[in-house]
Amino acid sequence: MSKLKIDTVSRVFPGVRGGAPTRALEPTSIAVEDNDFITILGPSGCGKSTLLRIVAGLDQPTTGNVLLDGQPVREPGPDRGMVFQSYTLFPWLTVRENICFGLREKGVAEKQQAETAARFIEQVGLKGFENHYPKQLSGGMQQRTALARALANDPKILLLDEPFGALDNQTRALMQELLLGIWEKARKTVLFVTHDIDEAIFMANRVLVMTARPGRVKCDIAIDLPHPRHYTVKTTPEFAAYKARLTEEIRVESIRAAQDEH
């Protein structure tokens, strides 16, 4: 049985003030296996974030349903950890307190909270910043904290909605290595939404390409690069071949998306 089953999920947003309804997502089915690292690649506005929000339970599908370990998803829950593109750390909590947020909601004993927090602070390289407030951190550090906050809950699946989208290129590359390193060790099941082709190939074992709006999965490409992956993999011929193929796939959609705007 698949870890996560997205079964003919579609989403139509009702029209605003008598306008035509927007078809954001065509009926989409995806099976995510345990330990999969899947990246969903698509042009902006293709409904990939909508799909992720439906999996998280933050949005309801118009048709179809989502099953996690066979159980239907109806509302958000700590079994699906999420990292957003925007900075969503609680500004009144320190790094450590942010990471402990989910554990506290769960009623975990304070001593155990502190131990878990220390472990993830170490993992994302934020030692020495435990007592900083989010405003005192760089964008990359904030997203590392957000990642640690989601991981501390020990979710069944990690949902990442362009988490590095607002970061500069160098920081973004380091964050990709960090996340990949964590995945290689912990083997979490990951669903990662991005519009960056390099990012999609580098981290994934499967890349799903989505079409322009209304979005649907256009192709499902297995990325057969060995682990552990070093950043130098990005300059290998194999990587370049994947990149050439995905560039073609995504380019057609980007052109369509751009034309639809007129």
């Binding site: 829950g77 009144w92 909601e105």
Partner: protein, 259 residues
């Protein structure tokens, strides 16, 4: 100095602030000592200061000041204790807001001072009536402003908390409330300033003590020095309470004041 939005060095900032007080005092001295305004209408600065000293030494003015502070703080605290939770509930739950908001928006425009004759009828001229004036003046304002602050909470933080397992009470108590607290505290600071204007109005009518009562008494004796001193004291107390409130906020919510 007139570069838009350009910061001013702290030393010059203080100097400019003091300069205004000096100019104000200078103007006051000029019109009184220069004979432009007769002493009957406006006492000169020295007379006002002397009147102030005699108020404290001969007429027990400290007692009046104490009574007025007690009334302001008492009425304000009672208002805040009920208004803040109601405002939070209204901000968090749209149904609660729909129920209360129209009435409170209406009640907010009822001038507290207009209730004084009615309140005297109901509660007499004792302390209950003074507190009630401040309560009416502060309560509705606090409710509405707190509701707007909480209602404007960041949706992305609420969603993040849901994906971390927060349920209804967790969202209200550990996301909406801490996020809105610094602004709620700022609102309370603002409304406390308004409470001072209500208390003086309440004390002008049917009071036996308080700063407002002293000002009213001085008018009967045409003692503009005492009246001016009374007004200045109100301003000074307002300044001090505002300063203390700001300090407390900065200490309670360090994260909010980070640059």
């Amino acid at each position: 100095m007139f570069e838009p939005l350009k910061p001013v060095p702290p030393g010059r900032r203080t100097a400019l602030g003091i300069l205004f007080f000096v100019l104000f005092l200078g103007l006051w001295a000029a019109v009184t000592y220069g004979g432009i305004v007769p002493p009957l209408f406006l006492a000169d600065p020295l007379k006002a200061a002397q009147a102030g000293i005699s108020l404290f030494t001969e007429y027990g003015f400290a007692g009046d000041v104490g009574v007025t502070i007690w009334r302001v703080v008492g009425g304000f605290v009672i208002a805040a204790v009920f208004a803040v939770p109601l405002g939070i509930l209204m901000g968090a739950f749209k149904g609660v807001e729909a129920f209360f908001e129209p009435f409170i928006s209406f009640a907010r425009y009822l001038p507290a001072s207009a209730f004084i004759p009615l309140l005297i009828l109901w509660a007499g001229v004792g302390e209950a009536q003074k507190l009630a004036v401040i309560l009416i003046g502060s309560f509705f304002q606090i409710v509405l402003m707190v509701a707007v602050i909480v209602g404007g909470s960041r949706m992305d933080l609420v969603e993040a908390s849901k994906t971390l397992g927060a349920k209804r009470s967790g969202i209200v108590l550990r996301v909406l409330l801490p996020g809105a607290s610094p602004q709620i505290a700022e609102t309370l600071r603002l409304v406390l300033g308004w409470a001072w204007t209500y208390v003086i109005v309440a004390e002008l009518i049917g009071a036996q003590s308080g700063i407002g009562h002293m000002i009213m008494d001085s008018q009967r004796l045409l003692d503009t020095g005492q009246m001016i001193f009374g007004i200045v004291v109100i301003g000074l107390i307002g300044l001090v309470s505002d300063f203390l409130f700001k300090q407390a906020n900065a200490r309670l919510y360090p994260w909010y004041f980070l640059k």
